[in-house]
Amino acid sequence: MRDAGNEMYDYAMAAVEGALAAGATYADARVVIRRHERLTAQNGELEGVDRMEDAGVGVRALIGSSWGFAATSTLTDTAAKAAGAEAAATAKASALVGGSDLALADVEVAQDIYETPHAEDPFTVPLAEKVAVVVDATATMHGVEGIAVATAQLMFWDTDKWFVSSQGHRIHQHLVEAGCGMDATAVGEAETQRRSYPQSFGHVETGGYEVIRRYDLPGHAGEVAEEAVQLLSADPCPSGEFDLILESSQLALQIHESVGHAIELDRILGWEAAFAGTSFLELDALGSLKYGSELMNITADATIPGALATFGYDDEGTPAQRVDIVKEGTWVGVLSGRDTAHLAGLPPGGMVRGDGFNRLPMVRMTNVGLTPGDSSMEEIVANTEHGIVMATNRSWSIDDKRLNFQFGCEIGWEVKDGERVRMVKNPTYTGITPQFWGSMDMLAGEDEWHPWGVPNCGKGQPMQVGHTGHPAAPARFRNVRIGVTG
């Protein structure tokens, strides 16, 4: 663990003092120093090595019904104090269009440090070694006849956060995240076909460079490229109502869109109505609404080792925790922060995070995922009379209440009488959230359960990019509408 950074605590405290002096009833501040490195290659050539570092202090001030938030990239006592005063002035201005006073649910005041367990600091691994991974992987993919574009990427984050509040919090966290991804695109006469690994848009975990070694991009490059080429000549996915079998990374995104966002308490309360939308869930149905079949058990767990949304404390100083969201198909929990939890009369879930120093922390998914079942992909296929196995997300779209969704996947296989009989291209499926989850009748077990990480979850205004986790295992859904085309 690096130095706890007394100087950084001082800047954060100056910001809080500035806000309190300007009239805030509560204030907290985060000094954040974040390093990000991204290596990309295309067709066997290095495309870019990009390094980003941002640092600054962001301060929240509560007055009446509104948060005021201000951020500055100037790290001095004077600038931090001025940001605190600006946050309070901004909150005060909200009174022109005010509502009922906002209050915060109680939490135990923590003074602590936390660091992501990691074996190998990705920022000290020689650049040439990292370059070789993406160059070799894309060269192999591009070497397969029919591949027009092969890309690969490595991505790393190293984030220090010093959090203080007017209630006495004092928390330093050092978070390390590492991820990778690659894809091969085959271009036909009037279409493109793509295969990705480990999932589309890359997969990220908390941890060090050991994550990259584990996924071994060059070792999977040939297979990925060959499947992309095969898709060009594959039959189109049939249309109709069949059984749908999802591999775990597509199911992870299904959870993200149709469960994770729907259970955000700020959405349920209408705080995101104009942009991302609201939720089909209403609080008075908490504890009774049937979200899915009895196989459906969802938790939001910020303590899973290695999962992307694992941390020590959220950006309000609330400890990471595991919260039941759906138990045996019944909706029982939400994602919340101190303000939304108080409004709803629920305990705060420790799920508020901000994107860097200059964004207001808001309710974000932690590791929202399925607890494993007791079946397996092999058993699911063997027990399916007619269905489509779909893998790796290609497109996703869902309505503003998180009910009506349509997903496209990179690849599918038709299953007849318990066997995969042919590869199919352009597979899509559509459904309505509770009916879809209600049709889940087989779920694979722990051996195939994987803590997928999504590094690109957009939410809020100004837009914030969040890192979320979604453990999942392959599952079967009955009588799903499959094969929607334009």
């Binding site: 941002d54 271009v187 779209s397 309505d399």
Partner: protein
């Protein structure tokens, strides 16, 4: 010109301040040795956003940040970095680390060289009152929007932004400018429906909260009672927000020269891919525009006719794609966008002469769509995308709006929707419209289209 070390501003507030920082970085690069090239971009953002929901302001934010982006090439080996630290020691370290990282790379075969010295036309357009707007000024616009319908629930945001940018390169390019932008994006909601209104301008004073609030409320009330329509193909009139989303996807996935080089774009230069009523121009010279006159690489933005009376005529290039295509950059590099490619960001669909109500009057049976939601591409080559309608979708029969319908899902090729013979009317109501990827990118009118493929409704 280069300034003395003591003159580096600690809290830059003007484009000239940013130019001093950009020049200093170039000086550090020059000191790094012969054969080292660089492009530098320094940006200050002063942004305030007043967010409201349930008819009151609940999140109110402001930031004032400076960021530096540097791309270096050492004998054709490239590396990029960015930082928010702008003291001289940090800048020297940034240059040193980035140059050292570049030295360890293989040669970048597509490095086009640092941006050459080229004059830029103007320095951007700024409204001082918008650039300096305080939280009270934004809250006042919110109040007018909310008060326009005190029996409904309002949500949305009003924001103001000052963007100041300076660029410099080792090949002698220097440019600085600033722009202001203000946007209102809001909805009013009944228990069963919502209606939206949007406006973007260089000036906050142009945002009429009361008028926009009344428009959103009217659409919400007219949608409060709706029927679910059977999916299928319908003639449509798309309001500017829906058209803007279509144009955004065509721009990002189609007119992007990198996508074209990779074979993933639908664009076929010289072919009549669109209806003759369609002319699309990327026009940074439009006086309404909130963008800067130069791109992220410092290249002056060119007025680029992408589609001329239905014929695809040009692509958007940055310096990389231009070099690969043996042409010149059109000034469409976006910050951090080397991997994405060049994207038109000042897209204008030329308006027609038909008022919106006449477009609707021509429809025998179809839909008036005010906005799309959560649109995603299924295949860029065929431009097939899926998404939903939102915030007001209306059934039109015999030229009249006869009622509202529930939100519908579509799966549609945008290229086919605008193909020769498919565009049956172009509105005269061109304005800044807020598409899928936000405000400030597209100016367009309403469109009447012969067919749109709705593939699902609220029940799936």
């Amino acid at each position: 010109m280069a300034t003395s070390p003591t003159a580096l501003p600690t809290r830059p507030t003007t484009p000239d301040d940013l130019q001093v920082i950009a020049d200093r970085i170039v000086a550090h690069v020059t000191d790094a040795g012969e054969g080292v090239e660089a492009n530098v971009r320094v940006e200050r953002t002063r942004h305030g956003l007043t967010r409201f929901a349930n008819s009151f302001v609940h999140q109110h934010v402001g930031e004032d940040t400076v960021a530096v982006a540097l791309t270096v090439a050492v004998e054709g080996r490239t590396s990029s970095a960015s930082t928010t630290a702008i003291d001289d020691e940090a800048l020297a370290r940034l240059v040193h680390d980035t140059v050292e990282a570049a030295r360890q790379q293989p040669v970048d075969p597509h490095w086009p060289g640092a941006t050459p010295a080229t004059p830029t036309a103007g320095t951007g357009t700024i409204d001082a009152a918008t650039a300096e707007a305080d939280p009270d000024a934004r809250a006042a616009v919110v109040r007018d929007f909310v008060d326009a319908a005190d029996d409904l629930r309002a949500a949305g945001f009003v924001d103001t932004e000052l963007s100041q940018v300076a660029v410099a390169s080792t090949a002698g390019q220097r440019a600085a400018g600033q722009t202001s932008r203000a946007t209102l994006d809001g909805i009013h909601q009944t228990d069963t429906s919502a209606g939206a209104a949007h406006a973007t301008s260089i000036r906050l004073a142009d945002l009429d909260g009361a008028s926009l609030g009344a428009q959103a409320a009217d659409r919400a009330r007219r949608s409060a009672s709706f029927v679910d329509l059977e999916p299928g193909r319908y003639e449509v009139v798309l309001a500017p927000e829906a058209v803007a989303t279509v144009l955004t996807f065509l721009s990002v996935y189609g007119f992007n020269a990198k996508a074209h080089l990779e074979g993933a774009s639908f664009a076929r230069l010289g072919e009549d891919q669109f209806d003759p009523a369609i002319t699309i121009v990327d026009d940074p010279t439009d006086a309404r525009r909130t963008g800067l006159p130069f791109d992220a690489e410092g290249t002056p933005k060119q007025r680029t006719v992408l589609v001329d009376a239905g014929r695809t005529t040009a692509l958007a290039h940055d310096r990389r794609t231009a070099a690969r295509s043996e042409t010149t950059s059109t000034g469409h590099a976006i910050p951090g966008g080397a991997g994405i490619g060049a994207v038109p960001t000042d897209v204008t669909l030329q308006p027609g002469t038909t008022p919106l109500d006449e477009l609707i009057a021509g429809v025998e049976r179809g839909l008036f769509v005010t906005q799309f939601h959560y649109v995603r591409i299924l295949d860029p080559k065929s431009s097939v995308a899926t998404g939903l309608t939102r915030n007001g979708t209306f059934l039109v029969e015999d030229g009249e709006i006869v009622g509202a319908v529930g939100n519908l899902r579509f799966t549609q090729s945008f290229l086919d929707a605008l193909a020769p013979g498919a565009v049956t009317g172009v509105g005269d109501d061109a304005r800044y419209a807020h598409g899928e990827f936000g405000p400030g990118m597209v100016i367009c009118p309403s469109l009447r289209l012969a067919s749109w493929n709705f593939t699902g409704g609220a029940k799936g």
